[in-house]
C-alpha cells in the first residue's frame, strides 16, 4: 500500500491523463458535493425548527379551549368551554407528582405609553412559575412574585425590545409604564433565547391584577405547564392524554371532540421534527448515493478504458513475473485514489461553502446549515467503498489479461 513504486505509477498514469482524470474525478466530487450540501441543508432545517422553540422548556404542555363540536351529556354542540383559575388548581392537584410548574395565562393587547413614546404590545398575565416554563431570562430587576400575586399589584416585567422602543435615555427599571390607561411599575426586564423578536415585545403582569382589572373575572385563556423532565416520549404523550381526558370529563366534553379542549405537547412536536429531519437525512443519503453511483460508474468506465490501453504493458509485466494480485492492486489503488481525492475535494468545497454562508443564514425554517464529523466520516467510507467498487471489475479484467495475447505483435 505504501509502496513508492506503485504510487509513482499511479501519479504517472494520472499525470498523463489529466483531462480524463479530471472529468471522472469531477463527477465524484460533484456527487459528494451534493450529498454534503443536502445533509447540511437537512441540518439547517433541523436547527431552524428547534431554534424557534429554544426559548421554551421542551417538556411543556399548552392547554387551550374552544367550542364543542359534538353534542354531549345533554348539552348542544357549539358550547364554549372556558378555562378558569380552578382548572389550574384541579390539574396540579390531580397530578401532584407529574406536574413540575403550572401557570394560568391571559393575553390582552396593550396600548402602552411612556412619556411621549407609545407602542402596541401584548400583555401576558401569569403567575411566578411561568418564569420556568417560558425559560425567561431576567436581565435586570426581578420577575413577578407571590407577593405581587397576593396583592394584585400593578407591576410589569417588560421585554428588552420594549425598553429599546420606549425608553430613550431613561432607566426603565422602577419607572411607571402606562398600559391601557393604567400605570404599571416596571420591576424587571427580560430577554429571550428564541429567534422570535416579538417574544421580547411582551409585558408580563400578575394574573390576579389582570383578572381584577378586566371585570373581577377568574377566566383564563390558556394553561401552560411543564411535566416531570424524566418522562420519555411515551410517558410524556401519555401524560398529555391524561390531562386531556381529565379536562374533557370536567367540562363535559365528548371524548372524541377535537375542538373543545386542545392539549399541545412540545414532546410530540419535537419528536415529529426529529422524525421528519431524519427522514429527510435518509432521503438525502439515498439521493446522494445514487448520484455518486453515476460517478462511480464513470470511474469504472474510465478504468476499463485504461486497462484496454495498457493491455500490452500488463502483458509485459506478467511476463516479467507480476502476479495477478499485483496487477489488481495497481488498478484498484489508482481508482480508489482518484475517487477519494476527488471526493475529498468535493467535500472540502461543500464544507467551506457551508462554513462561509451557514452562520449567516438564520431564518425560522432554516438556520446554520452545517455538517458534522460523522457526516464527513460516513462520506469518506462511502468514497473508499465506491473507489473499490469502481476499480474491482476493471482490475480483475486486467489481472486476466493473457500475456500471450497481449504480447502478440499482430
Amino acid at each position: 500500500m505504501f509502496d513508492r513504486d506503485i504510487w509513482q505509477e499511479i501519479f504517472h498514469s494520472i499525470k498523463n491523463n489529466k483531462l480524463r482524470t479530471f472529468l471522472t474525478g469531477f463527477s465524484v466530487a460533484w456527487a459528494i458535493f451534493i450529498l454534503v450540501m443536502l445533509l447540511g441543508s437537512v441540518n439547517g432545517m433541523k436547527n431552524g425548527f428547534t431554534g424557534q422553540f429554544a426559548d421554551d422548556a421542551n417538556n411543556s404542555i399548552i392547554i387551550r379551549t374552544g367550542s364543542t363540536s359534538i353534542a354531549y351529556a345533554g348539552f348542544e354542540a357549539d358550547r364554549r368551554i372556558q378555562l378558569r383559575n380552578d382548572d389550574v388548581e384541579y390539574i396540579s392537584k390531580s397530578f401532584p407528582k407529574d406536574v413540575e410548574y403550572i401557570t394560568p395565562i391571559m393575553n390582552k393587547g396593550a396600548s402602552t405609553r411612556y412619556k411621549s413614546e407609545t407602542g402596541s404590545y401584548t400583555i401576558r398575565a401569569v403567575n411566578p412559575e411561568h418564569l420556568f416554563i417560558d425559560k425567561t431570562k431576567i436581565t435586570e430587576g426581578r420577575y413577578i412574585n407571590d407577593n405581587d400575586l397576593y396583592k394584585s399589584a400593578k407591576v410589569a416585567v417588560i421585554g428588552k425590545r420594549i425598553v429599546e422602543d420606549l425608553y430613550k435615555k431613561d432607566s426603565a427599571l422602577g419607572s411607571f409604564l402606562e398600559v391601557n390607561g393604567l400605570p404599571f411599575k416596571v420591576v424587571g426586564i427580560f430577554e429571550e433565547d428564541g429567534r422570535d423578536d416579538n417574544a421580547e415585545r411582551t409585558i408580563f403582569a400578575p394574573i390576579t391584577t389582570m383578572q381584577r382589572i378586566y371585570g373581577q373575572t377568574d377566566e383564563v385563556n390558556q394553561i401552560s405547564l411543564t411535566y416531570n423532565p424524566n418522562f420519555d416520549l411515551t410517558e410524556a404523550l401519555n401524560f398529555s392524554e391524561r390531562i386531556e381526558n381529565l379536562l374533557k370529563r370536567r367540562h363535559k366534553v365528548a371524548p372524541d371532540d377535537q375542538a373543545a379542549v386542545r392539549v399541545f405537547n412540545y414532546a410530540q412536536f419535537f419528536s415529529d421534527i426529529s422524525n421528519f429531519t431524519s427522514g429527510m437525512g435518509m432521503m438525502s443519503i439515498i439521493v446522494g448515493a445514487l448520484i455518486l453511483l453515476a460517478g462511480v460508474v464513470g470511474i469504472g468506465n474510465i478504468m476499463v478504458f485504461i486497462i484496454k490501453e495498457r493491455t500490452k504493458e500488463i502483458g509485459v509485466r506478467k511476463a516479467l513475473g507480476a502476479k495477478p494480485w499485483q496487477i489488481i492492486k495497481l488498478v484498484l489503488l489508482e481508482s480508489v485514489f482518484t475517487t477519494v481525492l476527488a471526493g475529498f475535494l468535493g467535500m472540502l468545497f461543500a464544507s467551506l461553502i457551508l462554513a462561509a454562508i451557514g452562520p449567516n443564514i438564520d431564518t425560522p425554517a432554516f438556520s446554520n446549515p452545517s455538517v458534522s464529523i460523522s457526516t464527513v466520516l460516513t462520506a469518506t467510507i462511502i468514497l473508499v467503498v465506491s473507489g473499490v467498487l469502481a476499480g474491482l471489475i476493471p482490475s480483475i479484467k486486467a489481472a486476466n489479461v493473457k500475456p500471450i495475447v497481449a504480447l502478440s505483435d499482430k
Binding site: V316, L320, G321, K323
Partner: protein, 233 residues
C-alpha cells in the same frame, strides 16, 4: 536445463482444431545457445510460449531446471517466470513511460528486491549492455538497437536460468542485428542458456545449435560452428 517429451498443442478454431505441435522431443543443456528456426506456422512461437509458461501444453512433459511445469496457477506461473526466465521480444516491449533504468529494474521489483539494491543492480546490467549514459532516457529517446539492448538488460537483470528471445533482431537493420547478436553471444559466453527464435539464416548461424521446425515437428537438430557476430560490428 530444459527437457521436453512428446509435447502436443492444438488450438480450437471454431469447430476445427489446429494441431500446431505434434510431439516435440527436445533437450537443452546448461550453457547452450540454440536457434529455433522455421517458417511462419511451423509452431516455433507456440513452442516458445510454452517454454515461457505463457501458454500451456495439451499433453507431454516439460521440465525446467528439474522442476516439472504442469498445471500452474497464474500466481505460480508468474513466480516461475520471474525466477527462471528472461524474455526478449521482437518489438522490445519496454514500458514507454519508464526510463531505461526503471525498465531494467522492473523484474527485480517483482522479486521484491529493495529499491536501492534494485537501482544499483539495474545500473550494473545497463552498463553491461553499454547503455549506462542512457539510464535516465525514456524508450522513445533510444534507437531500436538501444531499445533491444535495454530489453536484454531487463531480461538478464532477474538472473534467469534461461533467456528466451523471440525474433530479437526482427525489427532491426543488419548492423544493429549483429550488435544485438554480439551481445547475446557474450552473455552466452558467460555461461547463460539462451534460446533464440528466428527465421533468418545468418542470425541462426550465430548460435551453436539449430533446431528446425516444420509443421509442428522437429525435422532437423544439429550442432554448428558458431559465426561470431563481433567480426561484423
Amino acid at each position: 536445463m530444459i527437457e521436453i517429451k512428446d509435447l502436443h498443442k492444438s488450438y480450437k478454431m471454431g469447430s476445427n482444431s489446429l494441431h500446431v505441435l505434434k510431439g516435440i522431443n527436445f533437450t537443452v543443456e546448461d550453457g547452450e545457445l540454440v536457434a529455433i528456426m522455421g517458417s511462419s506456422g511451423s509452431g516455433k512461437s507456440t513452442l516458445l510460449n510454452i517454454l515461457g509458461m505463457l501458454d500451456g501444453a495439451d499433453s507431454g512433459e516439460y521440465t525446467l531446471d528439474g522442476v516439472p511445469i504442469k498445471n500452474l496457477s497464474e500466481t505460480k506461473a508468474a513466480e516461475y517466470r520471474n525466477k527462471f526466465l528472461g524474455f526478449v521480444f521482437q518489438s522490445f516491449n519496454l514500458i514507454n513511460y519508464k526510463s531505461a533504468l526503471e525498465n531494467v529494474a522492473l523484474p527485480l521489483y517483482y522479486q521484491k528486491v529493495p529499491r536501492k539494491e534494485r537501482q544499483e543492480k539495474a545500473m550494473q546490467y545497463l552498463d553491461r549492455v553499454g547503455l549506462k549514459p542512457w539510464a535516465n532516457h525514456l524508450p522513445s529517446e533510444l534507437s531500436g538497437g538501444q531499445k533491444q539492448r535495454v530489453a536484454i538488460a531487463r531480461a538478464m537483470a532477474a538472473e534467469p536460468k534461461v533467456l528466451l528471445a523471440d525474433e530479437p533482431t526482427g525489427a532491426l537493420d543488419s548492423t544493429t542485428s549483429y550488435e544485438v547478436m554480439d551481445l547475446i553471444q557474450k552473455i552466452n559466453d558467460d555461461g547463460n542458456t539462451i534460446l533464440v527464435v528466428t527465421h533468418e539464416e545468418d542470425i541462426a548461424h550465430m548460435c551453436k545449435r539449430i533446431v528446425h521446425l516444420k509443421d509442428g515437428i522437429i525435422v532437423e537438430d544439429k550442432k554448428i560452428e558458431q559465426v561470431r557476430a563481433g567480426q561484423y560490428v
